[in-house]
């Protein structure tokens, strides 16, 4: 599916952002957004609140106009084109269902606005009610529905015009964890069935990474990285992304010189390590590098084992299903995270204040290419 989506995307993009800037007064909400969205792609735009992700979506919907740059939708430049003249339906965080209309009337709304006749409206709405499995609620009032049912009405209402692209603004944020996962499955399957483009704005990494073909990570109006979930997870581009993902330890180091045929000797505060040469082939002596080691690639030993590494003391532990995240603090004050199975940890018999030595295989280091450029 992913490879498929990428091929289609190469053939033709449905959305192009060309150096798009959006300012509100002195505040820059989106800074030089420049990317494309492929036909049939599921793209997630992720970031914390105020990062510009919703503004980006609203510009695509035509609810905001870019201050600079151009947005192309299906090959046409759409700057200044009113939202009611576009076919870019949106599923709202608040759902924004009309409380004075029945479920059926809500779903028919977009068709009514486009002047579609009564009988055709009814038939098309019924098809979508059926597809979303809410036919039995057709004549209900919106306030008589549960959260999940409302979600389905919102989706049916947005899709009734059979658009080429669907915009979703944190649609699942109000649901409880169980329902959220179920609706994620509904959305994923729907997108595959319809083969249309989904642009999904969220602050939740698990939502973005589990559903999207590609993820855009934004912070303070800037796009920090675009890539498949695997790419972003394995190879975060810069410190922001690595910190945002939260599962890696970040080190600032300086290249000391070559180490063997395919490595660099790197010194960092608290120790030295070997980076694979492939991570930064053009490095010179004295160059600064920032690299990460993911929490699950870190190893722990007791100080008396004689294993070289960083000495640290245990600050605490957090359970994550079958594993635990151990939080450590080095003498220099740096905080480290190590993720291990409960079995491995029980052998070490750790408790807060225990001294340990942290080390890793040289191959598990990844240099952040976006830093020290």
């Amino acid at each position: 599916m992913k490879a498929n989506a990428q091929m289609e995307q190469q053939s033709e993009a449905i959305v192009k952002f060309h150096n798009v800037v959006k300012r509100f007064g002195n505040f820059t909400a989106v800074e030089k957004a420049d990317f494309e969205i492929g036909r049939g792609e599921f793209l997630a735009i992720m970031g914390s609140s105020g990062c510009g992700k919703t503004t980006t979506l609203r510009m695509l919907a035509g609810l905001e106009d870019p201050t600079e740059g151009a947005i192309y939708l299906d090959g046409e430049k759409v700057n200044g084109k009113a939202t009611w003249d576009r076919d870019t339906p949106m599923v709202w965080q608040s759902l924004a269902l009309f409380p004075f209309l029945t479920v059926q009337e809500n779903v028919e709304f977009a068709l009514k606005m486009r002047g579609v006749g009564k009988e055709e409206r009814r038939q098309r709405a019924e098809k979508w009610l059926e597809k979303m499995q809410i036919t039995e609620f057709a004549n209900r009032n919106i306030n008589q529905l549960s959260g999940g049912q409302k979600q389905r009405v919102a989706l049916a209402r947005a899709l009734v015009t059979e658009p080429k692209i669907l915009l979703l603004d944190e649609p699942l944020s109000a649901l409880d964890a169980h329902l959220k996962v179920r609706m994620q499955a509904v959305l994923s399957n729907l997108q595959k069935d319809l083969g249309i483009t989904f642009v999904y704005v969220t602050h939740s990494m698990s939502e973005a990474f589990s559903m999207a073909d590609r993820v855009v990570i934004m912070s303070r109006g800037q796009i920090e990285q675009i890539g498949t979930p695997e790419e972003i997870y394995r190879e975060p581009y810069n410190r922001f992304v690595a910190e945002f993902l939260g599962s890696a330890n970040i080190f600032d180091g300086v290249v000391q010189g070559p180490a063997g045929a395919d490595g660099w000797q790197v010194a960092y505060e608290g120790g030295e390590t070997i980076l694979p040469k492939s991570e930064r082939p053009d490095a010179r002596q004295g160059q600064k590098v920032t690299f990460i080691v993911s929490a699950e690639n870190m190893q722990l030993s007791l100080p008396d084992s004689g294993q070289p590494g960083i000495e640290a003391s245990v600050a605490g532990e957090e359970f994550i299903g079958g594993t635990a995240m151990v939080f450590l603090e080095t003498a220099g004050g740096q905080e480290l995270k190590v993720q291990k199975s409960h079995d491995e940890l029980s052998v070490l018999n750790l408790h807060p204040g225990s001294k340990v030595v942290v080390h890793w295989e040289s191959g598990s280091c990844h240099v952040l290419p976006g830093e020290n450029k």
Partner: protein
């Protein structure tokens, strides 16, 4: 509820009962005496009688005043509600510099002392040769009633999820369609409430009408005329009817403002 003080509770209840008594005792009294055969209101009561209602029923002056009141009230209700809706929607929809001044000015008329309002209206309307006509009363009452309509509709709009409007645009509804299919249906209860309340305000309004109505007197102005001529239990009968009609309008408005969809 252990933190309730019984004495304070009792005093508060007494306070409410007294307030209601002061408001409603004269009205109830006037209602009782309107059905009393004696010419002067005195105790003990005389016989039950609908004589005074018969008299006003047969009095052409009362009918004339009632007709004027009705024409003015209905017209004012429609005009004031349209103006009020416009004012409230402008406030909801747009942000502009000086908006707070605009809202304050739009809501100002009821705070102006009625005598000053009446004099100003008279001065202005006579200058444009409108004083003494039914239209002049409609204009004056329209000015006084539209802030009430605006306040009611504004309150309703403030309860609306602002995304509803954007969602309608997003689904292909242009601004007029959105006004018609989203904003007006959403505010409908408030629009009807505004119609009833502005009508009730216009029915009861005396001072400004007295200044500008000339010969086309509305019922409250007529009542004053009756009072000046002679004390008659007819006043009680008219008063009771006027009270009943105003209360009906206000109660209807209250029922509408209970926001029906939240109850379900």
């Amino acid at each position: 509820m252990g933190n309730e003080n019984r004495i304070i509770n009792a005093l508060l209840k007494l306070h409410i009962v007294l307030c209601l008594l002061f408001i409603f005792a004269p009205i109830a009294g006037s209602f009782v005496f309107s059905l009393n055969s004696d010419r002067f209101p005195s105790l003990p009561l005389g016989e039950f009688s609908t004589e005074w209602y018969r008299l006003i029923w047969e009095d052409p002056l009362v009918w004339q005043g009632f007709g004027n009141t009705l024409v003015v009230g209905l017209t004012v209700a429609v005009i004031a509600t349209i103006l009020g809706f416009g004012g409230a929607y402008t406030d909801f929809r747009y942000n502009f510099t000086g908006k707070s001044v605009y809202v304050a000015l739009a809501l100002l008329p009821p705070t102006i002392p009625v005598v000053i309002m009446g004099l100003a209206m008279l001065a202005f309307l006579s200058r444009v040769n409108l004083s003494g006509t039914t239209i002049s009363v409609i204009i004056a009452h329209g000015v006084m009633c539209s802030p009430f309509a605006m306040a009611i509709i504004r309150l309703r709009l403030s309860q609306m999820d602002p995304d509803l409007e954007a969602a309608s645009w997003n689904m292909g509804g242009n601004q007029w369609q959105t006004l018609r299919y989203v904003i007006i249906p959403f505010t409908k209860p408030a629009i009807f409430a505004a119609l009833f309340i502005t009508m009730a305000v216009s029915f009861d309004e005396f001072a400004v009408a007295w200044f500008v109505s000339g010969l086309n007197e509305t019922l409250p102005v007529k009542i004053l005329g009756f009072l000046q001529g002679q004390v008659s239990p007819r006043i009680n009968a008219i008063g009771s009817l006027a009270f009943l009609s105003s209360m009906t309008l206000i109660i209807l408005a209250q029922l509408l403002l209970r926001s029906p969809e939240e109850e379900k």
